[in-house]
Symmetry: C2
């Protein structure tokens, strides 16, 4: 484990301020869960913010306990000698607001009622998440981030950082991202939503934590899971194999891929909150970098730092044509931008599964800053 | 309406025989619902079988009543002067077994109990559907079909006809088909299944027809619906428009595309049976032309007639690479085969939405027989 950040701890920053949200509502006080890896240098110029995807958390690298079965979600990227080199950079990973992984979200206590927010939590946009992250970065004494790097919803956060705080970022790296969520992606989230709403245990969001809408939530997760994969990756992993436990002609018999989706969905229920899942889905659906601007052109005109974009050939959730639309507009505006279409069979999840395919390009980019 | 077959009637053929199914179970007696358009010629050589997709029925053309709002599902293809020209051809359209549209299926009466089959209905494969169709074709006094034409599940039936009954078909036209269902397509059906199973009203298939598992079934239909569309067609139709009835920051607020999926799903519940939907989904999932053969090569070696294949560029349910695998094997075997990749933005549904894009090619093929 000499390339690991080893044992890490999630920390919690509290802010008494109220954040004015895009919706017009206010949210506060705020807690932001975060982890840091590496050392901030003397002139505070080596900080890189790693931004999470939908159901991620602050725990991006290392282990909380020596016997943890798995390390953080981007451990193959973060550590001594790795691309996000903790010998050189100070890596910050924070949990977004709206999540259930330590930052203020629907499971947090609503200060006006003393009870969990649940559906009284305000709808948040990715832009709101980034404003909350800004509070954390300031608290850590950092004026300018060397980079903001993230995949999927993390890519949206990276782009928002570049647009909102052009003076506070020296670069952004949106990976498997999009400039705005397409109706196809929205539709898939709509299926997930409806799966949860249909569960009688959902009770319009007022389920007790010990009695979550497990069946609906597991199905919702399966919808998401499918959208993160690809035909090719499923074919590789499951092909058309039928479950050895079932008869092929049993009405309730299942293919291996079905059992996998079931298993994955059901285990997810134990580690995530359904309302949080829905709030974050909503943030994804509402995402449009041109929000509150007159156009994509105007929004992107605010970006001044270099940006490095990666898209994956088999990603059908945010297909390459979507980030390409943003990249082409940046090129038109003569902004410093680099784009790489990575051949990978692992769909949207490629940024987690095959980072080795873009790590050399990312390393070169970071070295050049 | 001079290009319409005008007023038509669904007819019902009854067979006292039992069909031996691929599962080993037997099904009978059988009823097959069907419609015919045009006249069978003297030497009975002008019959074309039109094969339905998943939730289709025998009513492919014309109207049952003058005031029917919509004609049959492929009315733009079938009629005097149309590509499936009822002045020249005798068109037969039959409902598959397992469906709820008149042919024997889970809503039919189980002769051994006197009550509806429901989940006592046997699992059927596409091959079984075709064997049942063969009974109908014989009953109509036809020894050899001029062609079998169908889209999606209809394409599977067309291919099965060519493999199973090489002496009984002069050509086949599989449109938007596949040689075997991929794990991605299976996964999407798995979501639909689970959506229905999760509905407390499903009661393991023993719901009363007047109390169907409406919420789960509507969601299942929405899953299917999405898989029939494409990012481009959704973008064209809905873009990212938010419902004018909802606040964008309302937790339960919806995008237009969501409202459409809801509406479509809910209206479907009134016109289809959930168990039938599940049996047909199963038939789709089990589909593999190589079933009971040693290989795809061996299966296809049985095909002797010319085949004409169409795939659609934006079809992600059965993407062009899938029929291409079959076509390439047929080419390797020097079989008479033609393949056209049609540029269309309408996804899997292109075969219903933009038939004008392949009609001239189909006409030329049929004229050449």
């Amino acid at each position: 484990m000499n390339d690991s950040v080893a044992i890490v701890t999630t920390e919690y920053a509290h802010f008494e301020t109220e954040l004015r949200l895009e919706s017009g509502r206010r949210l506060g006080p705020l807690t932001i869960a975060y982890e840091c890896y590496g050392q901030l240098n003397a002139d505070r110029s080596n900080a890189i913010l790693v931004a999470q995807a939908w159901t991620g958390d602050a725990h991006a690298a290392g282990r909380h306990h020596e016997d943890d079965r798995k390390p953080g979600w981007w451990d193959n990227m973060i550590g001594p000698g790795k691309v996000l080199d903790t010998d050189r950079y100070f890596i910050i990973s924070s949990n977004v607001i709206g999540s259930c992984k330590g930052s203020t979200g629907p499971t947090s206590t609503n200060p006006t009622t003393g009870r969990p927010y649940r559906l009284n939590f305000p709808v948040v946009m990715v832009r709101d998440m980034v404003r909350a992250q800004k509070l954390l970065i300031e608290r850590l004494g950092i004026d300018k981030l060397l980079s903001v790097v993230g995949g999927s919803m993390g890519a949206m956060q990276a782009l928002e950082w570049g647009i909102l705080y052009p003076e506070q970022v020296r670069s952004i790296v949106p990976i498997a991202g999009t400039g705005r969520t397409s109706p196809m992606a929205i539709s898939l989230n709509a299926l997930a939503r409806q799966a949860i709403y249909n569960d009688p245990l959902y009770k319009k969001g007022n389920y007790r934590p010990e009695h979550p809408p497990a069946d609906g939530f597991a199905l919702a997760r399966a919808v998401g899971h499918i959208s993160f994969l690809s035909d090719a990756s499923m074919d590789l992993k499951f092909s058309r194999r039928f479950s050895r436990m079932d008869g092929m002609f049993d009405f309730f018999g299942k293919f291996e891929v079905e059992r996998y989706l079931d298993y994955n969905g059901n285990s997810f229920v134990d580690r995530f909150d359904a309302n949080s899942f829905l709030y974050l889905a909503k943030a994804l659906d509402l995402y449009d970098v041109a929000w509150r601007f007159d156009s994509l052109e105007e929004a992107l005109s605010n970006l001044v730092c270099p940006s490095l974009w990666f898209a994956f050939s088999s990603d059908w959730l945010y297909p390459p044509s979507q980030p390409e639309e943003v990249v082409e507009e940046l090129q038109r505006q003569k902004k410093p931008v680099a784009y790489h279409l990575i051949e990978s069979d692992y769909g949207h999840d490629s940024f987690l599964v095959e980072p080795e395919k873009f790590i050399p390009l990312l390393k070169e980019f970071l070295d050049g800053l």
